[in-house]
Symmetry: C2
Subunit: 685 residues, 2 copies
């Protein structure tokens, strides 16, 4: 960078000069100035220059990225030394992408400008501006090379946002969805209440970030969710609460999680699961309606990208600086629309979802005739076959059938390769799982099912139900055995295989990509889960709350099970799943202090000190707290699915990588000696 | 708390019983059910019971605090053992304030119910519900005594929110203002973008909270404001940004500051101060319009409380559980309105504000004829007099005149007492300040001005201007000397005295409380301030940025001063002041990388390492960043003034005390040994 010296203005470099210049740039004409009645008038546009096209020495065109109107600069001169000539020379000296102030005469344009309109723009008619004067306001450096479809490193996030119109669209989309949901909630008499970010550590579940104070040994903790504060609001007579809340978890770096994330958090008093699910469905409905009415689904590099159709003549924009296939050349009438149909979402209990799909996040796009539900085959398969696929005593044996369009041999090769490659990935199978794979093959004895024995092969070949069409040539059947015990955790091995085979078939183009949105509820998770890696509530029971310790049992029967067999108790919970992704979850809460304390003390076997950390919540419940239930959207994740992008990073302006770093600003940063002392951090060991 | 055992349901206590009960409570009737056409129908209401009035053994009335309608339960029975009799007995057994589900027959009411309607309620017509059935959903404990106007300890914030309708109103008001401002900004094509809360430490100004990571020696920092991210957005082509942002400062505990607070943060590209100030004025205008149209100013215990006039027949509600004088008995026509007039707010430079009012946060309600502007009297007063009030060489002597309605003696006593008591408070005067106080007293030689000498007394007595009316009997004139040097900091001693005298006179009822809203801009603060207590930017220059190091000089002249006399350079800043409170501030930013680096490196004399901490910002500016300017409302403080309450704690649901503690939840809390190790906190020394 050139060294800047402000002493004598005549020595200013171009950059410092632009700092001075903008003290006196003319004000921009408002968007409303761009209309037929003003043709011939002099207007001012501020914006970023696009790529100039020089038609001749005397004629140039240059798009300008303005937030108020779609404008192309037309620069033409006839007389040397004229105003137009000087402006023309100035234009040609300014590098593309520099911010400028342009003065010109408004002209109607029949050609569209060579740029995509600004994402904020409402009007999309194109205008020409005959150049009279141009001032650069800063300069775009030569050593930043802008190329089409460039992917900038995370350190240059500002360039990614600036030059990736899809990313800027998604940030706009996020803004619009946020606004819409707020509007819906306000109209339903929800009150937005801000709850503290500087909270304290409580054994709620995940690991929390701490914020040490200057008083040694004391710290705030950043909240995993506003759960305890929102329940306190229910006890305080705020009957319907919501908040777009920043939440924090210091998790070990799992795929595509952020240490900070946004929840749309809500809670309703005098309400149960049904009431909350109804409101959540209404919110989803409003989003789908907006998409249907105002967005165009545009397939870009295999991603279905929502394009704001506020740009009325969007179809006219040429590709110049726009990603390939960004938009199909189609007439407005035939423009594709997002589907819009919402009734009640289907509901599955955790148990039934695990049974039918082997996962608590079923993707309902995975369906017959291509892929069957998971089906128990214990009554069919022989003991010999079972021994071939498992060493477990008295296991449950399940099967899933896959029908891909290829030939028998294609399919055999596909599935062979699938398992070979799976073994090399971090998602590899549990070593105790040995799936049995059979291909229905007319050229083989017993159609390739001979491993099952004669009787079982016959039965399987003739088996037929709504979710298991009769076998056809080339069908692949995968058998997996599992322990004969209640479901636990997020998926079975067969459930994972089912999803991974589907994903691979879609990725390979063997099955079509399905753009439908398949929502469903998964309800009644087990109240408790045997302790795994999560810190849980630190009780001595050997198990922890599956969601959080404030979750209500699902029924009086489950309330009774607390004393006798808590691991069998079901919770009054409801996760919302969209295309195999959990986009939110909620529950009815325990609203009676004695019950809450019983769960903590006698069921989870937390210590007195542990329970005491929740005394504020117990006090709030004790003060006549009404029944209440709530929900939280994982808002980043919801947007990820709606925008059909692979990562939450694609819908966040400034995301962190999977090490929790923001490489743009370089956070987290090293602690200084002074900070170390102030906040009692230990020195390097 | 009674020990809860769920094994056999017949032994449930009342509370656990209510946990079970609400599995089967009937759904509440929607608000729309409460209309004349439905009289005689059976409806269900959920809500909190109010105080029951028993008219006789067979007749009781009881209000119920419902979020959907204003309802009074009427319980009457004739036949023993009847449905009504059983319901009546049940009602009488339930303690007031318990949450209940009530089934009853809708009847028109000509009497208003003895309760204030729920703050969320839209309709306010009163209804009676003839009791058929009542179920408690939890119970309100006997040992919580609810009395009118109770102030609960901070530990019981939930009870304060529940039983202080004014506080709940304010939370609703906050919600409405938030919604309104979002709407205004969205309609002006501002995009809400969420920026990270886990940022990194940069020497921007105040002390930052740290969030240590598991990697020893590394930490996130919580942002003082989203300043650097929002400037990056300007470089990224997002032309208009806003966000309700949580900000954090670990400040030494000054009066009425919170360690976390909310800013309404905004930024505009291709814009200067003028553009931003215009938008901010439009936002304020929208708030005042809403207040004018939808709120009733209601004087409650000396506070002007905004009451939502959605409650149409609000005036009919008796005082039962409502704070005294909460609302005047006035007809809707004569109902008072908030004033609504906004044009351009007056603008004062920092220099002129300091000169005329002795403060950078002038309260324009302090005005003639009661209190004059500060007026220089150097040309009038004698050297002898100056020596009496100061030991300074060649000082500036200023005076301010106070006219209170009392007699000469009253006023003399008032001002005597004022200075006596001031000396005992933490706000006491600088020990070098010895104000000269004279009272214009016809009974004294030279009207009490003899200390000035004959000539000066004459001049002063006959002095007259727009901001200094001619002396009258009883006028008090206070003279203070100050160093003859440029203004620095927030106020002069005379400015402080002027404000404190006004506040005291209003508190004593000597001057009327003025409910006008007086907005003004204070612009062009000095770019730099000699180092005080604040850490500043840690440069070696001996001074720091007054606002932050990204602030642009006000003019080319000020840009030139950077090299020659930086302390004289003015900044392109604008603070918005309302009734003597700074409710927001903003500036044009430096948008040219070389200028920004010059300020950091050559003016503030930051080290290479210090400048490197801002490299992300310098990179963003370098990439052709357009000129930009922005603003941030101190949102809590704005609401505090609009609600006429003394503290930001009164407009925050869960505030922290001035030690930074939330006594409700007990944050910050002690760090556990495991946390200490995980995050490398040092053990107790």
């Amino acid at each position: 960078m050139k060294h800047f010296v402000p002493a004598t203005r005549t020595h200013y470099g171009i950059c410092s000069d632009s700092h001075v210049r903008h003290f006196s740039i003319p004000p921009a004409s408002p968007g409303a100035s761009f209309q037929a009645a003003h043709v011939g008038q002099e207007l001012v546009v501020h914006g970023f220059l696009g790529k100039r096209r020089d038609k001749s020495a005397g004629l140039s065109f240059c798009p300008i990225e303005s937030a108020v109107a779609k404008v192309q600069i037309v620069s033409r001169w006839e007389t040397e030394g004229s105003l137009q000539h000087r402006a023309h020379m100035a234009l040609r000296a300014i590098p593309a992408y520099s911010p400028v102030s342009v003065t010109g005469i408004l002209e109607a344009s029949d050609k569209p400008p060579g740029t995509r309109p600004h994402p904020d723009m409402k009007e999309s008619k194109s205008w020409d501006l005959r150049l009279q004067k141009i001032q650069y306001l800063n300069t775009f450096p030569k050593n930043i090379i802008v190329s089409k479809d460039a992917v900038w490193p995370p350190k240059s996030r500002h360039l990614q946002i600036r030059f990736d119109p899809l990313l800027r669209d998604r940030l706009q989309f996020r803004n619009r969805v946020t606004s819409l949901l707020r509007k819906c909630l306000q109209s339903r008499r929800f009150t937005e209440v801000e709850t503290p970010v500087l909270f304290k550590s409580t054994p709620e579940g995940a690991r929390e970030f701490l914020v040490p104070t200057r008083k040694q040994g004391y710290a705030y903790a950043l909240p995993q969710s506003p759960q305890q504060y929102k329940q306190t609001l229910m006890a305080s007579g705020i009957t319907r609460y919501y908040q777009f809340a920043k939440c924090f978890r210091d998790e070990d770096h799992r795929a595509d999680r952020q240490p900070e994330f946004t929840q749309l958090d809500l809670e309703m008093a005098f309400a149960g699961s049904f009431d909350v699910m109804r409101v959540v469905e209404q919110l989803i409905e409003s989003i789908l309606k907006m998409l249907h009415n105002l967005y165009i689904p545009s397939d870009v590099n295999g991603v279905r990208h929502p394009v704001w159709r506020g740009y009325e003549d969007y179809k006219q924009i040429p590709r110049a600086q726009v990603k390939e296939s960004y938009e199909a050349h189609i007439s407005p009438e035939n423009r594709p629309r997002y589907p819009y149909f919402v009734t009640n979402f289907p509901k599955f209990t955790y148990e039934s979802a695990m049974k039918a799909f082997g996962t608590d996040k079923p993707d309902l796009r995975i369906q017959v005739p291509f892929i069957t539900n998971i089906t128990p085959v214990d009554s069919i398969v022989s003991e010999d076959f079972v021994k071939m696929i498992t060493g477990l005593e008295n296991p449950i044996v399940e099967a899933c059938k896959f029908r891909l369009p290829g030939s028998v041999n294609d399919n055999r090769a596909f599935i062979q390769e699938f398992f070979d490659e799976l073994a090399k990935t971090p998602q590899k199978l549990d070593p105790h799982t040995a799936p049995g794979v059979l291909v229905f093959d007319p050229s083989k004895p017993l159609h390739g099912l001979s491993a099952l024995g004669h009787e079982a092969a016959e039965k399987l070949a003739s088996m037929e139900s709504e979710y298991w069409p009769r076998c056809e040539d080339g069908d692949m059947i995968i058998f997996v055995a599992r322990k004969n015990e209640p479901f636990q955790g997020g998926s079975t091995e067969l459930g994972r295989i089912r999803k991974l085979v589907y994903d691979r078939a879609v990725a390979r183009g063997i099955l079509p990509k399905d753009h439908k949105w398949q929502f469903l509820w998964v309800t009644n998770f087990p109240l408790f889960t045997p302790n795994g890696d999560d810190p849980g509530q630190g009780g001595a029971a050997g198990f922890s709350s599956t969601h959080h310790p404030f979750t209500s049992p699902a029924s009086t029967k489950d309330l009774d099970l607390l004393a006798t067999d808590p691991l069998r108790a079901k919770a009054d919970t409801y996760d919302l799943v969209l295309n195999g992704v959990e986009i939110g979850g909620g529950s009815r809460r325990i609203h009676v202090a004695e019950v809450q304390e019983y769960v903590m003390r006698d069921v989870l076997k937390m210590t007195d000190a542990g329970v005491a950390q929740f005394s504020h919540l117990l006090e709030a419940l004790r003060a006549g707290c009404p029944p209440h239930a709530g929900f939280a959207f994982g808002f980043d994740r919801l947007l990820t699915v709606l925008c059909d992008v692979p990562s939450v990073r694609d819908v966040i302006a400034f995301p962190k990588n999977n090490k929790g770093e923001d490489l743009l600003v370089g956070s987290p940063g090293p602690v200084t000696e002074a900070q170390r002392k102030t906040y009692h951090l230990s020195s390097k060991s």
